[in-house]
């Protein structure tokens, strides 16, 4: 008993020490601000590099590379870049291995939003080609890109932290999306915080499927049980003995996946409840449709006595079909040479000019009329003063 107590004490002390080691995240920062540059960089392709106070201004006409041969003393699982750019752009973190005879550049895409000193994390560990410290690494810029690069940071986490990330990833849920009615990706495993952010960003996900891992694990368990049961004991009841051992493991796996997926399902409902069902009228948004349903409720009464009307939204799917259902028997269309009522959703390029005409990209496309109701800056209902006259049909061939 005393030995057991000592063992428990040892475990308790070790577990207290665990968070201290877990905090030992190791990073290497590559600075680009004037006077702080700590690596040698070279440009390849059609790229111009200009030192500035806060970083290095990179500008391309074609595809451009900025690479360093800096030796890494850590093997990072993820990184981040800090840049300033007026427009959002897609950059790539790129690396080349010394032992690769072809010197192929492998890369990871990084979506950078526009803004000042934006830090964007990216994960490396899930990429099959990221298996060793590279000989060269850096960034690739697509043609006609201008950015001010401030910093690149590469990070290595220790085992305990990666384990914690894995657990967090396991309980990170996908959102309810248009594909969710047909399939669910289920839990994915990622081993660093940057990867968790992108867990469901790729279709299909590029991480390890927990469902697959569980299937393999259970299959191996069943094989071990089968070997144990079928080689020993009474052959008369070996299938029964197999089931008695296998069923509890199977049920445990089933309930685990059920709890995980059921929680994801409930998280969807909670999200819908917060953002739509219980949200104040002017703040209701719904999944990927934004404020469409509130807009439709606002706009449909204006066409209750119309058979057809003109409808424009920022994209045809799913808004055309959804609007057609909501406004039926009034049918949306593009016949602005025949219909007098326009319903416009989320189209900043469609406005009403000083003569009271609807313009698309600055070009007038309707007869004069007035806005019957405005939902927001880019969504409104418009009606012409006069009903457009249908042009004569083309002569028969």
């Amino acid at each position: 008993m005393r030995h057991l107590r000592f063992l428990w004490l040892l475990i308790a002390v070790s577990s207290l020490a665990l968070p201290l080691t877990a905090l030992a995240k190791d990073s290497r920062t590559l600075e680009f601000a004037a006077g702080e540059v700590n690596a040698t960089w070279e440009g390849h392709g059609t790229i111009s590099m200009q030192k500035q106070q806060g970083g290095i201004l990179l500008s391309t006409t074609g595809t451009g590379f900025i690479l360093t041969r800096q030796v890494l003393d850590i093997f990072p699982q993820a990184g981040s870049i800090t840049v300033s750019t007026d427009l959002g752009t897609e950059l790539y973190f790129v690396w080349i291995y010394a032992d690769d005879p072809d010197k192929r550049p492998y890369d990871v895409g990084i979506s950078v939003p526009g803004g000042k000193r934006v830090t964007v994390p990216f994960s490396l560990s899930q990429h099959r080609q990221w298996y060793d410290k590279p000989m060269q690494f850096g960034l690739v810029l697509p043609p006609k890109t201008t950015i001010l690069l401030h910093r690149i940071e590469l990070t290595q986490w220790n085992f305990a932290e990666r384990l914690l990330s894995g657990l967090k990833a396991l309980w990170t849920f996908d959102a309810e999306r248009p594909y969710s009615i047909n399939f669910v990706w289920g839990p994915q495993i990622a081993w660093n915080p940057a990867a968790i952010k992108d867990l469901y960003a790729y279709l299909p996900p590029i991480f390890t499927s927990v469902t697959y891992a569980l299937n393999i694990f259970l299959l191996l368990c069943f094989m071990v049980i089968a070997a144990f049961v079928f080689l020993r004991g009474n052959p008369q009841d070996r299938r029964k003995r197999f089931l008695r051992l296998a069923l509890p493991i199977l049920l445990a796996g089933w309930v685990f996946l059920d709890v995980r997926m059921g929680s994801e399902f409930i998280s969807w409902v909670a999200w819908d409840y917060r953002t739509y069902i219980a949200a104040p009228a002017n703040l209701k948004t719904f999944r990927d449709r934004d404020r469409f349903y509130d807009f439709a409720a606002f706009a449909v009464p204006y066409v209750f006595d119309r058979q057809t009307y003109v409808f424009f939204a920022d994209r045809e799917w799913p808004f055309l079909g959804n609007m057609r259902y909501l406004s039926y028997p009034a049918i949306p269309g593009i016949a602005y040479d025949r219909d007098d009522t326009w319903i416009v959703f989320n189209r900043p390029d469609i406005t009403v000019d000083e003569q009271g005409r609807v313009t698309i990209g600055g070009e007038a496309v309707s007869l004069p009329g007035r806005v019957l109701g405005r939902f927001d800056e880019s969504s409104f209902v418009f009606r012409t003063y006069q009903k457009p006259i249908l042009p004569p049909p083309p002569p028969a061939p």
């Binding site: 399939f183 669910v184 089933w254 996946l257 819908d272 349903y293 079909g321 057609r324 269309g333």
Partner: protein, 477 residues
Amino acid sequence: MTNFLVLLIGIAVPGALCWLSLLLLEGRHPVLTRAERIVWALTLGPTLFTFIAFLSHVLGLTRLTLVGFLLPNIVVALLLGAGAWTSGVLRSGWNTPLPASLSPDTAPRWVRLGVLLLCIWTGVKLLAGAIDLFGVPTYWDDSFNNWNMRGKMFFVTERIELTIPVGNQIVQTEGGVSSYPPALPLVKTWLSDLRGSWEEPLVNGVHLLWFLGLLGSFFLLLRRSFSRTVSLLGASLLASLPLLLIQGTNPYADVFLASHLFLSIACLLGAGRSTTTEELSSWLKLLGFTLGLLLFTKNEATVLYAPLLILLAFWLLLGKKRTGMITQQQFTRVAGLCAIILALLALPWLAFKWLNGLTFGNAKSISGMTLSFNPLVVRAIWYHLSHEPNWLLLPLVLPLVLILSGKRAWELPEGLLTVFVVVSILAQFLLFALLAPLATEAIMQTGLSRGLLHVVPVALLLVILLVRQLLLETEKK
């Protein structure tokens, strides 16, 4: 609150009509328990109710108005009521024996507690799903392009419309979603007629009925062979399948089909387990009835499930004849009765389809499709079954249990389920892999997941029955 009341009345009225129909079909030899008859009636009722209204409408007798729905159904209900009263089946129906009483609960306390926790968890998920179903707008493509759209069209125009305006001056003619049976849209039309307006919570909320109906009938079928604890565990396992839960709590038609299909399977299994000719006859009449209504749910029923179920019924009857349980004369009589009931329900819709040039595929006509093998389909199926938890661990367990059971899995009566599950899954995989226009349905996991969804309740039932068989029986040398 008004929507909720209308929903209750809107499913209770068809339910009562269907309850009477089931009682009459069983006749003097009832085979369903009281609870089963109620759950079956509520599940099948709206389909029967809309079928009668559809028939009256296409014959030019009524429009799709409140009166148009009620009048023909009242006439049928009066006829059925008179039949039930004179034949005395009302009395025999109440005296149905309870086979469940044969399975007492012997599970240890901790097992019962575990199952209770699972049931509470299932209840929480169902409640969450119901909140979403009643509270959010129509979001999914097939809901606003097909099921809800057609229901709204029928409600506004008061007639069956086969031409659907898509928008942008495009009009969809008979080849598209109009080829789907109108039962589900008509249920929505009926509820809206009863309410007096088209209400989203009402027309979407009704879908919960078929999910609860499926869970209820699954539980009650298990209850025939198992204790309450095991039956509740089985129903919880069914509700735990993520894609079934998602589809069951959204306004889609596949759980609607699955609930009807499961009842047809239950009839087939009941017929397989029957020990007297009278019992067999009752089950086969019910099979004809459920199968006829199944054809009125979705096209997959016509092209795949119904032919397979008919073949299985013949296999079963031939087996019964071979063992001497029924004579040739009895064979002809029970098969004939089943066929007549099926034809009465199936022919009007099939004739309507044929007369109006509607397709027989899943919104795509299967005639004239070219054959070409697509390896991407195999990859998509593998990914769907092994990497995604759509059906939790069922894709792993089903083949494992079939292998363990060996030949016994294919013996009657459980063999009926085995053949159905294996053939319908493989047939769908083959159709997706070989018919070029259908390949996309597998690669995008649309038709693939829905096809599997129809079959998984039967597959889970089969797994539970085979595991029981394996645990109870000692292996033979």
